[in-house]
Amino acid sequence: MRSSVVKSTFDRSVPVWITTAVTLVLLMILPLGWLAWVSVSSEQGTTFANYVQVFGDPHLQKALWNTIVLAFWVGAASLAVGVPMAWLTGRTDLPGKRTIRALIMASFVTPPFLGAFAWVMLAGPNAGLLNKVYRGLTGSDEPLMNIFTMSGLVFVVTLYSFPYVYIMIVNTLELIASDLEEAGAILGASRLRVALTITLPLALPAIISGFILAVLQALALFGSPAILALPAGFHTITTQIWTFFQYPPKVEQAAAFSIPLLLATALLLQLQKRLLGRRGYAGVGGKTGARRPIPLGRWRWAALAGVFAVLACTIVLPYAILAKAAFAKAWAQPLSWDNLTLANFTFTFFEYSATRDAIINTLELGIVTATVGAVMAALLAYVTNRRLVPGHQALGFLAVAPVVIPGVVLAVGLFIAYTRPPLVLYGTLAILFVAYLTKELPVGYAQADTTFKGVHPELEEAGRILGAGRLRVLREITAPLARSGIIATWCFVFIGVIRELSASIILFTPATKVISVVIFDLKEEGQFAAISVLGLFMLAMTFGIVLLMQTALGRDFLGAKD
């Protein structure tokens, strides 16, 4: 075996790369091709009638407009929250940075639909806990806030989108040398002026691309609008696409309505790539010298209070109300001994038959997708980093390309592609697997890419010179070096899979429910207690994996090394 590897002139790795490339094409091209085709087809042949119908309908125009409004304000609000927080934790002597980072990371991994659901219990205009407290304190008849509004939706979506801005900016701030800032300070500029005239312009590309990431989040979300917008009587694109599947299904219209979402996403990502690609900013791109934290002085504690106020909204309050609902007989009633019960857990896990199957399905999908995804991402990252095949750039592009496909759109494409021969995957877990793999591949690839950038090629070259084949080098040199990075990739994909809702909601069948779908089903039933139980279960699973990942990486996964 070994000797054959040594003697072989044929590079055995080639078939591996070809398989990977073909798989990629199948994952992407097939569903998107069908999507485009169906959007222009009708019983009479090729037509633009679907587009005319969809974009001429005033109700659907409104859904389109709502989505734009939502996405823009989420982007803006995410900046308003994320930028100061990144600056405070990255640049100043704010106390408790570790805790803050940990909590932001927790917001990052919290499924947005769980957050939205928790906020229904917190800020429903009448029964919401915060509104009740507010009315009790002020004697007012009006609620403090009504979560079933556009502004309520923006608020909740922002809570779970701002971490994207934060991560983007905090990582950039780490790269900005402080000597420029110090020069400004020496020349007599105030702290604020330094921040506004030196740090801000240097971080601008990161800020804009953070904005774009948050906008993309808001565009693609299904759960939060379904929970908050539908009761208020308005649709977004994603909820509208989902509605097209009500009987009798209008798949052609769903496809036509998916295209603008796809284009918008692709366009925004292209824009972001350009912005980040511009490296004309002196001082960004390498670490020079030590950075001294900027003293906040008397603003220290005020800033800390502000940061914790945000984190209370994203983590503390939602988790607390979920826990309360999980253990209470009636969530809207005060927590007393009489109101405490474990019955919700018994019902959810032992009586409600859908739960068990869903948990098994979710774990199965999570493990299989994470394993296949991590291996694929690693292979792809390896081949692109080492430039092993002609056209490796194209492979790298294909690996991240699915990032432009919002979950709902991907699901529509997969639904069309795999409900017909030759490959009828609909009704099996396989179609969910394909969806998850496609959706998570970009994240996995990005993680694996970082990993391989950190593994020096000379070690591999040494192995090759000593006569080992490429696969053997991969197995005995690269793999051990990249192990912790690959484990992190696995964890990223796993977390992404178990919380996935927007594609699952279209692709599941009664026999292939996953936890997120069961939660959504329970939401339609108003089963707050059971949702809370399952939600906590999901969070526990997520944080278990996060801990595993941090152990593997030896750092927290937002990139902080302290």
Binding site: G124, A127, F148, P231, S353
Partner: protein
């Protein structure tokens, strides 16, 4: 008695259930050996896949009971009527034949399913004696249960003169931002209610109601969103509450804040039929299950525990249940529901926004 032995000996694990099996067989079976053969056949099939719009908790209880009685697993899928139709048809379009028994609260569905030749003809045991309105002369879809649509309200927020007496009372401006209703795209009974009131007052009624900025939720049923939303105090009253299950049991509990108003201008009565699919992968289990849910025992359970009206003529109703003959009920013809359902949903979205 040979029947209990042969029914339970196939699986030693089920032996402790022998008394239950015996009891059920005595109640349900006509000929002992014929029943034995049916049970054996159902067990061979392994399970029955049941789509139902019956309240989640109740459906789960019933499924467990069937499993304990016959040792045949019930895969229960609870959802809103319209969602059930969507899921079954979506599966079918992809060539997946999974559903055995379907129970929705939209009688129009059975017109549609029959038209598409998707229903198997089956007459449950004792069907000749079923109450009026529960029988199907063609023998496909049998009324299994029925319930009125009423106005649930929270007594902490609505009292005295404010309690609505007619549907039209809900149009008053004082109800602005205080009402909740279920969605016809999800709950089949809402389609029926919309048509029933449209026939009474025209679309104008619904247009006016929309002006009161009604909160929209999905499920109507116990444990429906509408009722739960009212119970939690999130909204003062509901435009539609299915008066069974949660609404029924909760408002009988001492100290409750939940109540229900039966509008004087008419109460939509929703029939919820059950049928076996023509392609049912577990046909014997499906028939056994259908007979089971029409037994007096189960039907009495639905009447006592859930407050439902049922098909079985020997069922007795709790004294606090109004007799159907005493109510002014509004019933809509299944053909009309089938014909108008698309239009109703479309108009609803136009009026209410989502």
């Amino acid at each position: 008695m040979k029947r209990s032995r042969s029914a339970s000996s196939s699986s030693s694990a089920r032996k402790r259930l022998a008394p239950l099996v015996l009891l059920a067989l005595v109640v349900a079976a006509g000929g002992a050996s014929a029943q034995d053969a049916r049970v054996a056949e159902a067990r061979r099939e392994g399970k029955v896949v049941w789509h139902t719009a019956l309240a989640l908790d109740s459906a789960q209880r019933l499924a467990t009971r069937f499993e304990q009685t016959y040792g045949v697993k019930v895969e229960a899928h609870r959802s809103g009527s319209e969602r059930i139709l969507q899921r079954v048809m979506q599966e079918l379009a992809a060539g997946i034949k999974n559903a055995d028994v379907v129970n929705t609260s939209d009688t129009g569905h059975y017109v549609l399913l029959r038209r598409k030749n998707l229903l198997a003809r089956y007459t449950p045991a004792g069907a000749e004696r079923f109450a009026d309105g529960f029988r199907d002369p063609d023998g496909y879809a049998w009324g299994w249960r029925a319930f009125p649509i009423v106005v649930p309200y929270n007594t902490r927020h609505v009292a005295g003169a404010d309690v609505p007496h007619t549907w039209k009372d809900l149009l008053e401006p004082k109800w602005k931002n205080r009402l909740v209703m279920s969605h016809p795209g999800y709950a089949g009974s809402v389609v029926t209610q919309i048509i029933a009131l449209e026939k009474l007052y025209g679309w104008d009624f619904w247009a006016q109601l929309a002006k009161n900025r009604v909160m929209l939720v999905q499920s109507i049923h116990d444990p429906g969103r509408t009722v739960r939303t009212v119970l939690s105090g999130e909204r003062a009253a509901g435009v539609n509450g299915a008066d069974y299950g949660l609404l029924y049991t909760e408002r009988r509990r001492p100290g409750t804040t939940l109540a229900a108003a039966y509008p004087r201008d008419g109460v939509p009565l929703i029939f919820s039929p059950t049928a076996i699919m023509s392609f049912a992968p577990h046909p014997s289990a499906a028939r056994l299950f259908t007979d089971f849910i029409f037994t007096r025992e189960i039907q009495q359970l639905l009447a006592d525990g859930e407050g439902l009206y049922v098909a079985h003529p020997d069922v007795t109703y709790p004294p606090d249940r109004p007799k159907l003959s005493e109510l002014k009920v509004l019933v809509v013809d299944p053909d009309e529901i089938d014909r108008r359902t698309e239009d109703v949903k479309k108009r609803f979205v136009e009026l209410f926004g989502a």
